[in-house]
């Protein structure tokens, strides 16, 4: 695809002495009507009817091939959509395209023709904030029910006004016989309560025989207003409990890190090295726990194996959870990170704690061997997963897929390395990439990532063990109330268990964020499902869904 070729001539531009913002502004020429500075990237202000031109230019001529997130927000005098662009090849090269629209006519051009991932992101912006996107293929509500009144993240939304809808508007689409004409297709609802959807996902499928003709995921059954909750909390303490509940499959610490990283950069807090190592170690433990469940439920999906592999995976998770419980005091909702460090030091006696981790790591190779015996070298599983659910790399990029889904499609992209944070760049580990692009390679990526995580943990434990006792500094000095300056904006991401987990914060000079936007990896990854399964058999669709490893708490937020 043209994306790949364009990147070759891109470094030449970087060489020049002018700032990145000027350079890009030059490239876009008259399209830029103003400039902003965000903490992570230069911001270019674009007129609402020229969004596509600007984005096409940035994508094809400057190589920005990853639309990471779309943030929508309402100011006193205008609406604003921000497109956070970056590159799969160079994560640190970022630009924000800011598109203001007027209050009385909030219409802005859609970015969907440029980046397909914009489809859902803009629907969400429409749903929650109320910006209309012209040219959008299907501008409907996405998280809230169709019949919802008002846009809850808008400024004048009154949450106590009862929402009333007639049941007729909510009629069951299957109540009547849906036999239409002489077509041979059949409409099937999978979910929202279905064991294979991993939570409350609703997949509307049209099948012809056993083949999926058309498929649409209907989300929003777990939209718990996470963004609103975070906007109501103070930076210092009240926000941290919520990230645990985004990706709740024990990936809590990875999510907490996303918030910690963003807020620390926003308030310019330096984290002590010792705390960084603890963070790195515990976060990787979470990753193992999370991948274990992905493994167990995938086997459950593919051959309904509730007895062996699922239980094995649970067994290993229990061990990880015990370790994390020793460290943080909770099995799942850790609330362990603080801005500027972690809440407390490793549990005493330290030797015992290290011993526990070491035991787990020693047993892991054997456990993985078992998994490989039972799963990856199992013929049934191979027959079901090799070559099914194919997701070519260009498609994955266009949908903004990240994490194991992208790495299973041969995209070498991992924020731990590409935009390093914590202690990762000091350690010795590899990014796992498989280029099979199918369900099987996504599974393999996860299994091999567990090994890499184990390597990281091993090195962290070694470091922690030898750390001099009087230098165990677990928290930086952080002011009691944090009030970042008005109008500072930042977008930062970390590598969560499922991919790039980003957070956008706009400060307004108070101790609470004015806008808190979560970029969830699953939200973008789930968008690839129709691409992978249309034309395939229904069971392959289930396998693809399993291999995406979504968490509805994070999809819906």
């Amino acid at each position: 695809m043209s994306l790949e070729e364009q990147q070759s001539d891109e470094p030449a531009e970087l060489e020049s002495g002018v700032s990145r913002g000027d350079e890009l502004a030059d490239l876009l020429g008259d399209l830029v009507v103003g400039r902003e500075e965000h903490m992570n990237a230069p911001g270019l202000v674009i007129r609402p009817d020229e969004v596509q031109d600007a984005l096409f230019k940035l994508r094809d001529e400057a190589g920005f091939d990853h639309l990471s997130c779309v943030t929508a927000q309402e100011y006193e005098d205008r609406y604003e959509s921000i497109y956070h662009l970056t590159k799969f090849d160079d994560r640190t090269d970022e630009v924000s395209v800011v598109v203001p629209t007027s209050k009385d006519n909030p219409v802005s051009q859609s970015a969907e023709p440029v980046f397909r991932t914009a489809d859902w992101h803009e629907r969400e912006a429409y749903d929650l904030v109320g910006i209309q996107y012209e040219d959008h293929p299907d501008l409907r509500r996405i998280l809230l029910p169709e019949t919802w009144q008002g846009h809850p993240l808008g400024l004048d939304y009154d949450q106590d006004r009862p929402q009333i809808a007639t049941l007729r508007e909510h009629a069951n689409p299957l109540e009547e016989d849906h036999r239409a004409g002489d077509s041979n297709t059949m409409y099937i609802n999978i979910g929202p309560h279905h064991p294979a959807t991993h939570g409350v996902l609703h997949v509307e499928t049209v099948v012809d025989g056993e083949q999926v003709v058309d498929l649409e995921s209907d989300i929003g059954y777990l939209h718990r207003c996470e963004e609103q909750m975070c906007q109501q909390g103070t930076y210092r303490h009240q926000i941290m409990p919520y990230p645990d509940r985004w990706d709740y499959i024990s990936a809590g610490l990875l999510n907490e890190w996303a918030y910690a990283r963003t807020a620390e950069d926003l308030a310019d807090i330096e984290v002590p090295e010792y705390a960084q190592i603890i963070r790195t170690m515990s976060a990787e433990l979470c990753r193992i726990a999370s991948h274990m469940i992905a493994l167990g439920t995938f086997a459950l999906d593919v051959y309904g194996d509730f007895t062996a592999i699922f239980m094995y995976a649970m067994r290993d998770r229990e061990i990880v959870q015990n370790i994390l419980e020793d460290l943080t005091g909770q099995r799942m909702m850790f609330n362990y990170f603080r801005l500027g460090g972690v809440v407390w030091d490793l549990p005493e006696p330290r030797e015992e704690f290290f011993e526990k981790i070491r035991d787990f790591l020693d047993g892991l190779p054997q456990a993985l061997e078992e998994y490989h015996d039972m799963i990856t070298s199992n013929e049934i599983l191979q027959a079901r997963t090799v070559g099914t659910g194919v997701l070519p790399p260009e498609v994955a990029k266009s949908y903004g897929a990240t994490g194991p889904v992208a790495r299973g499609s041969g995209i070498d992209y991992d924020l731990r390395r590409d935009d390093s944070y914590g202690y990762y760049d000091e350690l010795d580990w590899d990014v796992v990439v498989e280029d099979g692009c199918d369900n099987f390679s996504r599974l393999l990526v996860r299994m091999r990532e567990v090994e890499e995580s184990a390597k990281i943990i091993q090195q962290c434990v070694d470091l922690l063990e030898d750390w001099p006792e009087d230098e165990r500094n677990i928290q930086a000095n952080v002011p009691r109330t944090l009030k970042p300056e008005e109008d500072t904006e930042i977008y930062r991401a970390v590598e969560g268990a499922k991919g790039e987990l980003g957070i956008y914060i706009r400060a307004d000079g108070t101790d609470k964020p004015a806008r808190f936007k979560i970029r969830s990896p699953c939200f973008s990854n789930l968008q690839t499902l129709p691409e992978m399964s249309e034309g395939e058999y229904i069971p392959d669709m289930i396998a693809s869904l399993g291999s995406l490893d979504i968490v509805l708490g994070e999809v819906d937020r």
């Binding site: 009333i164 064991p195 059954y221 718990r224 509940r245 099995r331």
Partner: protein
Amino acid sequence: MSSEQKPFVTDDTQVQTETRDARMAGADDRFNSKLREAFGSSPFILTKFDKFMNWVRGSSMFMLQFGIACCSIEMMHTYAIKHDLDRFAAGVPRASPRQADVIIVPGTIVSKFAPRMKRVYDQMPEPKFVVGMGSCTISGGPFQEGYNVIKGAEEVIPVDIHIPGCPPRPEALIYGIAKLQERIANGESSPVTVKPYELEQFGDLERDEIVDKLAAQIDEDDLVMRYNWADSP
């Protein structure tokens, strides 16, 4: 009495007696159970049929495989090894509501999901029991103030047992289920109350002014549902 009737006459009553003796006596104590003791040497027990049914109901519960949010991960751990809920006769989850007696509601219920959950609950055969797991099913939990969050499962379906925690530990869930079994065995279950959801179905709209105002626009026999339950009666 009836113990003298022998519908199936076999020659070797001797064998039976021996087996029975072996079971009654210490040698093979593991065969012994309260039930067998109650049987004694007579093949009959006297009990009320209701009581017997309640006992059976409590000792063999089919759970619905129903995951909503974070709590469902702890629920999976409760089903899986180490905690193994099956030990307490509340075993492997059933995927279909038509085969289930107990629904554990593990997570936050939001406006879009509430009607679906109600439907799943309605599809379960009577008698059915509900275990609310986690703070979210009690009050909305950490998301209580959210615009989209139902303030507790009680708003939608009647709940027998509430298990607090965020999430409750597997031990807590097991305790809650044991309590439910106890209640079932004693023949108790929560009274079926009419929920706001149903109230409105029956057109009892007076108590809500806004509904009144809107009523003019609504067909006489049209039904009404609400998404936020902030000021439900």
